[in-house]
């Protein structure tokens, strides 16, 4: 859905989305990285199971909630992407039992 301007400057950063390898640009937030990687939705709502994607990109809409490195409910648009980050889309009410102890 989004493409990178050809002359966009910066280093590539490798991360994974739902286990799949993807590339981001240095300075990307996780939300921008997802858009750049062609991800169409980043969560399923807990109430009706509807697909949602980032909307405001500035931390007010809370649509971009994803799980990052095992911790859920994180606003992707506020977190800079780092090499090796594991990002997962969220399915409904997060299964907290799956996560290891902090």
């Amino acid at each position: 859905m989004f493409r990178r301007l050809p002359d966009a400057a910066g280093d590539n950063i490798a991360f994974t989305i739902n286990g799949r390898r993807a590339q981001a640009l240095a300075g990307d937030t996780v939300a921008a990285a997802l858009l750049g990687a062609g991800i169409e939705h980043c969560r399923i709502t807990p109430i009706s199971g509807a697909r949602r994607a980032p909307y405001c990109m500035m931390g007010v809409c809370f649509e971009c909630l994803v799980t990052i490195d095992g911790v859920g409910n994180r606003q992707a648009c506020l977190i800079p992407v780092r090499a090796g980050m594991r990002v997962e889309t969220q399915q409904g009410a997060r299964a907290i039992a799956e996560e290891s102890h902090a």
Partner: protein, 479 residues
């Protein structure tokens, strides 16, 4: 740049929340006047939204974003070079008055929190886009124009495929112009500005023509209009699609037309961000011209809470340059209250910012009147989602008014709208206008959500690990 929670000062003269134009300008002045100043912003860099990524922009060609954007660079550099401290990726989730004077601020950085105190607090949290609740607006592939612009500024991203931009207001033209500069093609601009608005805007035209807004605006609209199909007077809009947006259907002159679309960008103006000022307990009033709530402030930016100021678009929408002037004025008043300058100095130094501010405010009235969104786009019907977080529709809200949900707070208790993580940022105005409309009263009479901290969610583990005393700040181990 402070990047560690421990490096935050435990106590500061002035804490400025938000590193947009208002916060940046304010911090420079405050630092120069000898105030210990800390700027906190939840984004990774300074600039807020309008000057997003100003210090680290990947878009190499300056012509893409335009001169107005790059004007922020000098402002940011000056602030960062001053003696004010800056904390990035620092989310303020609570500000509360101490028992006697000053404020306690809950700050989260990298998943850990602590409380710090400040004598004075300046909220420079700016604005957010007005909700635009059309049927289907929650589908993936639909973003706000501001959101798309952030993706461009901070990451050099533009939409692939068919782009439609819909709504009203200067940002539509700005982003369209930036996209054209970047080589994107736009399938259509659907302008929802009601034709009737021109009549109400005319009396303000002279001030607008004399203001800095005019020349810029005209240039953008001409450049964009020459290359993009513009449909004006759009009376209705809806987005259609199953798992993502596939088409946008618009009505003009009573006739419906459909455009296939991959990315639909919506915008119908910006409104002050009031979640923090509300949660702290400041009084707010309804502004019928800007159709939004604003914190009550005097002309130094002081709210109904002592030692708490608001600067920038958070006071009322007037744009980036006006925001910087408001920041300077509020900083001068803080410096005076904290004994660094006398009243005469404060007044003298505030004169030039005030003059600039007045020019922008006068010119603004034309834009407010012209781009006043039509009622149909502010107060939706049927099963259009109003509260995105809790998926509450317009008809459910309407049906609940007679059950006793006579205001937004009661509605919140009945239907949970406003109880989701966004705390009403995307539904509050719609809910308030909808209930007010149902009851035939003004939003001023109705009131707004009574917001509470944390203004951003905080992990239980993070709260549990918060140090009790300053001594234990250094000793905290993440369990």
């Amino acid at each position: 740049m402070i990047s560690d929670l421990e490096a935050l000062p435990a106590n500061i003269d002035l804490a400025i929340i938000g590193a947009g134009p208002a916060g940046l300008a304010a911090s420079t002045i405050a630092a120069r006047r000898g105030l210990g100043t800390l700027v906190l912003d939840e984004n990774p860099g300074v600039g807020g939204q309008v000057y997003r990524a100003i210090m680290a922009n990947p878009v190499r060609d300056r012509a893409v974003l335009g001169a107005d954007y790059w004007r922020g660079e000098a402002l940011a550099k000056e602030a960062v070079a001053s003696s004010a401290q800056h904390a990035a990726s620092a989310t303020v989730w609570s500000v509360s008055p101490l028992e006697t004077a000053g404020y306690e601020i809950g700050v989260s950085m990298a998943g850990r929190s602590r409380m710090i105190t400040a004598q004075e607090v300046m909220l420079a949290t700016g604005a957010l886009e007005r909700p635009f609740p059309i049927p289907g607006w929650t589908l993936p592939g639909i973003m706000s124009c501001g959101g798309a612009q952030t993706a461009l500024k901070a990451s050099g991203l533009i939409p692939d495929g068919r782009i439609v931009i819909a709504g009203c207001g200067p940002l539509l033209w700005l982003i369209a112009w930036q996209y054209l500069n970047a080589g994107a093609s736009i399938a259509a601009i659907l302008d929802t500005t009601p034709r009737a608005n021109w009549l109400g805007a005319m009396p303000h035209l002279p001030a607008f023509l004399a203001s800095p807004y005019f020349a810029k605006g005209l240039k953008l609209m001409r450049a964009v209009g020459a290359k993009v199909r513009v449909v004006s007077g759009v009376e209705a809009l809806r987005a259609e699609g199953t798992d993502k947006v596939e088409s946008v259907v618009y009505t003009k002159g009573g006739r419906e037309q459909s455009i296939a679309v991959d990315v639909l960008l919506l915008h119908q103006g910006v409104v002050p961000s009031i979640n923090l000022s509300n949660a702290i307990g400041c009084r707010h009033t309804w502004d019928e011209a800007q159709l939004t709530w604003k914190p009550e402030t005097d002309d130094w930016g002081v709210t109904s809470m002592p030692g708490l100021t608001v600067a920038g678009d958070g006071v009322g929408i007037a744009g980036a340059e006006a925001a910087a002037e408001r920041g300077r004025i509020a900083a001068l008043s803080a410096a005076h209250r904290l004994g660094k300058i006398d009243a005469a100095t404060r007044d003298r130094d505030a004169a030039a910012p005030r003059a600039t501010l007045r020019r922008f405010e006068r010119g603004r009235m034309f834009l407010d009147a012209l781009y006043r969104p039509a009622k149909a786009y502010r107060i939706p019907q049927g099963d259009t989602i109003v509260c995105r977080c809790e998926e509450v529709t317009a008809d459910r809200i309407r049906a609940t008014v007679p059950l006793g949900a006579t205001g937004p707070n009661q509605m919140k208790s009945f239907l949970r709208c406003g109880m989701g993580p966004c705390q009403g940022r995307l539904c509050g105005l719609t809910v308030a206008e909808l209930i007010a409309d149902e009851r035939g009263i003004s939003p001023q009479e109705l009131g707004y959500y009574r917001l509470r901290p944390p203004v951003k969610p905080i992990a239980l583990a993070e709260l549990a690990a918060m140090p009790k005393t300053e001594a234990s700040t250094k000793a905290v181990v993440r369990v």
